[in-house]
């Protein structure tokens, strides 16, 4: 319907909300940090962890935990928006930008326009390289100054905060470049292929 009818008896709480330039449509601010995952939380030992950058069958580069920690780190303070409606403002993360990963792998540019993020446990999510460059994407290992807990995606999760937070995949292990944009886990299950919260791209067809 073009215009929403007023819901009888529902009172405005506009004053109680964050300003509209901070809160995308349909979102509300939470002070908690809710958790959403499709299955059991994997507990990954740092000694067993690695992150691999890959293009088709070829490994472009791979970092173990010590090597990854030695890459230039950045701190990112930003808001995050979950497709289940909560937003959390001014969260602080630390990690390595996608730009830096390309640089560390000796790549002047991305070898293909799309990336599939692969995670421990089989979760995947797809992203356009344009949504990752220029500091827009990162692989983060710390939240609010502490290592990210397993339940929130530690030891390392993807971080693409300008898109709905399912794109910031937990327990990241591999970034695989691809020539065409294939749907990942939630994207195959009815969720939007890109997921821009400001355009309210929650579900397929939005």
């Amino acid at each position: 319907m073009a215009e929403s009818p007023v819901t009888r008896g529902f009172r405005s709480n506009r004053q109680g909300q964050a300003p509209s330039n901070r809160l995308p449509p349909g979102q509300y601010v939470t002070r908690d940090f809710p958790v959403l995952s499709a299955g059991p939380t994997p507990h990954i030992r740092l000694d067993d962890w690695s992150l691999t950058l890959q293009y088709e069958g070829t490994v472009l580069d791979s970092w173990n935990w010590t090597q990854f920690e030695a890459l230039p780190q950045v701190s990112i303070t930003t808001d995050i928006h979950c497709v289940t409606k909560w937003s959390k403002l001014d969260t602080i993360w630390e990690g390595v930008t996608f730009d830096e990963l390309l640089r560390a792998a000796g790549l002047r540019e991305a070898p293909a326009p799309y990336v599939m993020a692969h995670c421990e446990g089989g979760y995947t999510t797809n992203l356009a390289v344009d949504d990752l460059l220029d500091g827009k994407g990162a692989v983060v290992t710390r939240y609010a100054g502490s290592p990210i807990e397993p339940v929130h995606g530690g030891p390392a999760r993807f971080f693409v905060p300008h898109l709905y937070f399912w794109k910031s995949a937990k327990w990241l292990r591999r970034l695989s470049f691809m020539e065409t944009n294939k749907a990942g886990f939630w994207e195959s299950a009815g969720y939007h292929i890109r997921g821009d919260p400001w355009k309210e791209e929650r579900y397929d067809g939005d």
């Binding site: 319907m1 929403s4 009818p5 007023v6 819901t7 009888r8 008896g9 529902f10 009172r11 405005s12 709480n13 506009r14 109680g16 909300q17 449509p25 349909g26 979102q27 509300y28 939470t30 908690d32 940090f33 809710p34 958790v35 959403l36 995952s37 499709a38 299955g39 059991p40 939380t41 994997p42 289940t84 409606k85 446990g121 089989g122 995947t124 939240y143 609010a144 502490s146 807990e149 339940v151 929130h152 990942g184 886990f185 939630w186 195959s188 299950a189 009815g190 929650r202 579900y203 397929d204 067809g205 939005d206």
Partner: protein
């Protein structure tokens, strides 16, 4: 990766839903029975988004699991009243039969069960997390061939057990379904269920053995789901056979 018939390109438009009935389940929980014209049908475990609009244009959206089976005409939404919840407070305190609000769905193609997903059906619920599990049990009961099922359901007190009478009747009608309650804070005299938080021994006693390859669905508050899912994996259940849905804060960062 997911081969699911719900993953289609149809657009999820907002529709006006009418409140046809309101059921008081517990002191803090009500079920809203909604009529949605042209409802496309759903799978047990899916949810809907609802949107409320104030007279100044202010809107609030929330997601709620569907507790009714696809066979029912009305969509049942079971909602807990949260102390600081602007939407749940409105639904509980203000909404009446005959009122309307916007709704769209069904949403979610992962935390769903139907017979084609397989049996036995193993359900573990905490608090209002039982709602999508109830949709699965209600749907299962409508099928002639439905396999074995169990639900381990954790509530704070007996008064807070949602759908208690319906569960008891379901277990009386069907010997292939086991409903096991645990009550974590106050147990009345003569209580025959468990009286503690879910632990490994309780899961070992209650659940199907891993070799039966049950399809497990766990829904509840985050620490509850984390605990139950971790313990099921420790007991030998395949992590890929365990589907989870969490809500609420984590209790820490």
């Amino acid at each position: 990766m997911i081969d699911d018939p719900t993953a289609s390109a149809r657009r999820l438009g907002w529709q006006l839903a009418e409140v046809r009935d309101i059921v008081v389940e517990t002191p803090r929980v009500k079920t809203f029975l909604m009529r949605v014209a042209g409802w496309p049908g759903h799978l047990p475990g899916q949810h809907v988004d609802i949107r409320l609009t104030a007279d100044d244009g202010y809107q609030a959206q929330r997601s709620y699991s569907i507790a009714s089976p696809p066979e029912d005409e009305l969509i049942a939404l079971t909602v807990v009243r949260l102390d600081d919840g602007e939407v749940s407070a409105y639904l509980h305190g203000e909404l009446r039969r005959g009122d309307h609000f916007e709704l769209r769905g069904p949403i979610g193609g992962y935390f769903v069960w139907s017979l084609s997903v397989g049996t036995p059906l193993q359900l573990i619920g905490g608090g209002s997390g039982v709602a999508p599990l109830m949709a699965m049990l209600r749907h299962r009961e409508r099928r002639d061939e439905h396999g074995a099922a169990m639900l381990l359901y954790s509530s704070r007190s007996v008064e807070e057990i949602i759908y208690r009478e319906e569960f008891e009747a379901m277990a009386r009608r069907d010997r292939d379904v086991r409903i096991i309650n645990t009550v974590t804070s106050r147990q009345p005299d003569g209580w025959r269920g468990y009286g503690r938080r879910i632990d490994k021994a309780m899961l070992a006693e209650s659940c199907f053995p891993p070799k039966a390859s049950p399809r497990s669905f766990i829904c509840g508050p985050t620490p509850f789901v984390e605990n139950a899912a971790t313990l099921l994996v420790e007991l030998g259940h395949d992590p890929l056979s365990i589907k989870t849905e969490r809500f609420g804060p984590t209790g820490s960062t």
